[in-house]
């Protein structure tokens, strides 16, 4: 349910950065452990963007897999869920990737 609010934040931030220049593409980085559904953002994006400088822009979402460093054995491990454990058995993990919720870039209609 919070994806609509998040999408509004995306549109507001990009609109401000675009300062009225039409935007062709918006690229997001969303971690798979961020608690946000990318489908829901994509679903909201066109509607929310309507009437703003980024209306009609294409939305690219780069999904980032979860990864962490194990505090016990030092290995870097994949963490497909928030409660994944290290193969060594430890759950003391320091998250390295997977919780991103970032706007990476925007592509303007005109070339630089």
């Amino acid at each position: 349910m919070h994806e609509l609010g998040i999408t509004r934040n995306i549109v507001a931030i990009v609109s401000e950065a675009a300062a009225g220049r039409p935007v062709r593409r918006v690229t997001l980085e969303v971690g798979r452990l961020s608690g946000v559904m990318t489908d829901a953002i994509a679903f909201c994006f066109d509607t929310v963007a309507q009437g703003t400088a980024i209306e009609g822009a294409k939305l690219d979402i780069v999904e980032i897999d979860g990864a962490a460093r194990c505090e016990s054995c030092g290995a870097e491990v994949a963490t497909p869920t928030l409660f994944a454990a290290c193969p060594c058995g430890s759950r003391r993990l320091v998250r390295l990737r997977g919780e991103e919720l970032n706007i990476k870039s925007m592509e303007l209609m005109e070339a630089a």
Partner: protein, 276 residues
């Protein structure tokens, strides 16, 4: 439409000061409409996509940067006043308000407690808090499913908690959305009642990972439900190995001493850190 959850402005967020009866509507997302002038001539862009490439502008911005900045401002405000601020989260009906009522009554001679009550509608909980003896502000989020940092800032203006106070922010009953929104609190306290089942931490891992403390409430009902405390504790620790776990019944008072001990310790830490 509200930026948070799609509510219409007519059902937008309101802040009710229960001491004065003053109610203010807030439209927390004014910043969302900065470019309406672009379409002042009434024309609409269709932005046909040709094959060209435009300038790529790196933004590298956190989507929740604005909320996080407002939360940081709240946190600094609390720190300067040695206020212990806690963000209470749970499913609806887990007993947040009952625990607060009991805490207010039991600690009335020890600490000034203030409450920001978040609910979609009604000031029922705010009135319960007032009746228990604490000043409260009711934030109604309309269709919104969680509190955001600016709502807390607005609530603080109405509530005016003094130095050394304890501020309890009772979030909207919801184990999903409040996990993402920092309010400036020192800690999130997640409340799980035994009637909900021992697998809640696995079903809503984000919240249990974001919380410093898990309170297992309604322990007086343990005999009547299939709730395995050991399983609940193990599930919570699987998601969050460092989570502190307190077991209590806000109704009978069993286990409340542990909760009060935790509150005193945190309040002491806030005082010690204020000038560190």
């Amino acid at each position: 439409m509200c930026a948070t959850c799609g509510c219409g402005e007519a059902t937008g967020t309101t802040v009710l000061n229960l001491q004065t009866g003053e109610e203010a509507a807030m439209h927390p997302h004014d910043h969302d409409h900065p470019h309406e002038h672009v379409h002042a001539d009434g024309t609409r862009h269709s932005h046909a996509h040709d094959d060209g490439h435009g300038e790529v502008v790196a933004l590298e911005t956190r989507i929740l940067a604005k909320n996080d900045a407002l939360a940081a401002a709240n946190r600094a405000w609390f720190k300067g006043r040695e206020i212990l601020a806690l963000n209470l989260v749970s499913s609806p009906g887990a007993g947040k308000t009952s625990l607060l009522e009991r805490t207010i009554r039991d600690l009335q001679h020890e600490v000034r407690l203030f409450v920001i009550e978040g609910d979609q509608a009604t000031d029922n909980d705010g009135q319960r808090i007032r009746a228990a003896g604490a000043d409260a502000v009711q934030v109604n989020t309309g269709a919104g499913c969680h509190l955001e940092a600016d709502m807390v800032a607005r609530g603080l203006k109405a509530l005016k908690p003094g130095p050394g106070a304890v501020l309890m922010i009772e979030n909207v009953g919801n184990l999903v959305c409040p996990a993402l929104f920092d309010l400036g609190e020192r800690a999130k306290v997640v409340i799980l009642s035994v009637t909900e089942g021992d697998d809640k931490p696995l079903k809503y891992p984000h919240m249990f990972k974001a919380a410093e403390v898990m309170i297992v409430n309604k322990t007086d009902l343990m005999a009547h439900v299939d709730f395995d405390m050991a399983v609940a504790v193990a599930n919570a620790r699987n998601v969050n190995p460092d989570i502190e776990i307190l077991q209590l019944s806000a109704r009978t008072g069993e286990g409340l001493d542990d909760w009060y001990r935790w509150l005193r310790r945190e309040a002491a830490s806030v005082r010690a850190e204020a000038f560190a």
